[in-house]
């Protein structure tokens, strides 16, 4: 079985771009990823395309991938349209990895693109609300923010987290975002500013939450003996796990993120203690604290201590969300999982500029999408490794 390497990555900046269509956003990410790999469009043998909301927001319900790919002259090859709510980008990436490992092709492009600013916030919120089983949740007003708020409130009730932890991790998120030229929110923020921002869903305030966003991200996955891997310090996909949430929550069931991470760790032959950098799915900045525990970065109940120790800052032992995460980099939902992959690749190559988190060898990306009865509907965990030693 050939190994899967990431030969090129690229993003369109995340933010508000009224003059850019889905085609423009995707074009920039795709061209940047191919240029990064030193390849042209004709090297692409298959495409896995992720978008969540264009059916409802732009009316392009079908063949979304083909409509943006024709703009850059990618046709004839198989195009597989992927939708998995906020985890669509990493789901597309996982399929590209599978295709290359299986020998189906030697170069597969994964691209995610989303345009959430449509001049009508209610319409965008309605579209986001379909990331649940609407047969059951319709009319309840179960927004993403409320789901995160409930998860976090539960950890606060148990005494594991305090309101100060929520503020501190959000300060970190915005600081990292301020260093990232691709980020939507590039302004450092104080705990007082965050605490004073509008209440969204208690205990979450406005500046703790990701906002609407436009953007795109892409990654070119190739066989490990492809000519394109020699262009940069080689980055291999060591673990690729995809799971879906469950309906029946028993007292001692591990969270589905934990189960997914265990599969990825096992495949990579590594554990959480081996990681040097991580991008996690903090649609609300304090969500990062939940994932410290669920991914095994710290024991249960110790997320606050891990944050307080500085270990997850840029200069720490295991920097988390050096990009600013979903909260500050932005969260155009179908693109997010691939933006995480871009960030981990840049970090492993040493190309992350001001937000470079030391000299990492092993990086993890965790992406979640939608929800069922209290658990995300889709979760992926990827583990990437830099092959050559740092010199």
């Amino acid at each position: 079985m050939p190994g899967a390497a990431v030969a090129g990555v690229g993003m369109h900046e995340f933010g508000r771009f009224p003059d850019r269509s889905l085609k423009d956003l995707a074009r920039v990410a795709i061209v940047r990823a191919l240029a990064d790999a030193g390849l042209g469009t004709k090297a692409v043998e298959a495409v896995y395309s992720s978008n969540a909301l264009a059916g409802l927001l732009q009316g392009q319900e079908q063949i979304r991938g083909q409509t943006v790919l024709r703009e850059v002259g990618i046709d004839r090859v198989p195009v597989i349209n992927v939708e998995n709510a906020c985890a669509g980008g990493s789901t597309a990436f996982a399929q590209a990895v599978l295709a290359v490992r299986a020998g189906y092709c030697r170069a597969a492009l994964a691209v995610g693109f989303e345009k959430m600013f449509v001049g009508d916030t209610a319409r965008s919120l309605n579209a986001l609300a379909t990331a649940a089983d609407i047969d059951i949740t319709a009319g309840l007003g179960l927004q993403f923010t409320a789901i995160y708020a409930m998860r976090i409130r539960r950890r606060m009730e148990s005494g594991a987290l305090t309101r100060q932890h929520l503020l501190d991790v959000t300060v970190k998120s915005h600081y990292h975002g301020s260093l990232n030229p691709y980020a939507q929110h590039r302004k450092a923020m104080s705990a007082a500013e965050i605490a004073a921002s509008a209440p969204i869903a208690d205990p979450l305030t406005l500046y703790m939450c990701s906002s609407m966003s436009d953007g795109a991200a892409a990654a070119l996955v190739v066989a490990d003996d492809h000519e394109a891997v020699a262009r940069h310090p080689q980055v291999m996909v060591r673990g690729s796990a995809l799971t879906s949430g469950y309906s029946h929550v028993q007292q001692n069931d591990p969270p589905i993120v934990t189960e997914c991470a265990q599969r990825a760790y096992e495949e990579a032959g590594a554990g959480p203690g081996d990681l040097d950098v991580a991008e996690v799915h903090d649609a609300m900045a304090p969500g990062e604290l939940l994932y410290y525990e669920q991914l095994g970065l710290c024991p249960e109940g110790a997320a606050g201590q891990l944050l307080d120790s500085g270990a997850t800052g840029l200069a720490g032992r295991i920097p988390v969300n050096p990009s600013g995460g979903l909260c500050s980099r932005g969260h155009p939902v179908g693109a997010t999982g691939l933006a995480q992959v871009c960030e981990i690749v840049w970090q492993l190559r040493g190309e992350a500029g001001q937000r470079q988190a030391g000299r990492p060898r092993l990086g993890l990306a965790q992406n979640s999408g939608g929800w069922l009865d209290g658990e995300p509907a889709a979760v992926s965990v990827h583990i990437l490794e830099r092959v050559p030693p740092w010199t």
């Binding site: 309840l140 007003g141 409130r153 209440p199 969204i200 029946h248």
Partner: protein, 138 residues
Amino acid sequence: MNRALQAAPCTARQRFDEAAGLLVGSCCTNCGTRSWPSRVICARCGSDRLDQSTLPAVGTLQTCTSVWVSRPGLPVPYMLGQIDLGAGAVVFGHLRGLAADASLPTAVRIRLSADATSIPRFWFEPETSSRAATGRGE
């Protein structure tokens, strides 16, 4: 799994017991796992021997939030919670009459609107009887 083929359509299955004011879901006769709304095959054990049955009136409120971003028909703030009704049935629902800083977990009792078109159709209120404080086995 032939029973699953003969199951009534989802749209024809009862979700509420109007007279009793309770949710109606399924209960697996093999492993006891409950679901709301009802399912036809048990996600825990794979059995197709599921009975329709009412869920307990009292459950455990595991967590909650006051929401400040308005949605159609929902003046802010409105309060949402996640309620464990036992044996694997966990539902989201609106909360009424609960203090925003109530300590959790706590017992809550379901209330069902008599009007079948009202949204939400059901909600939960604090359970005052200490006898039901565990929220299980009722």
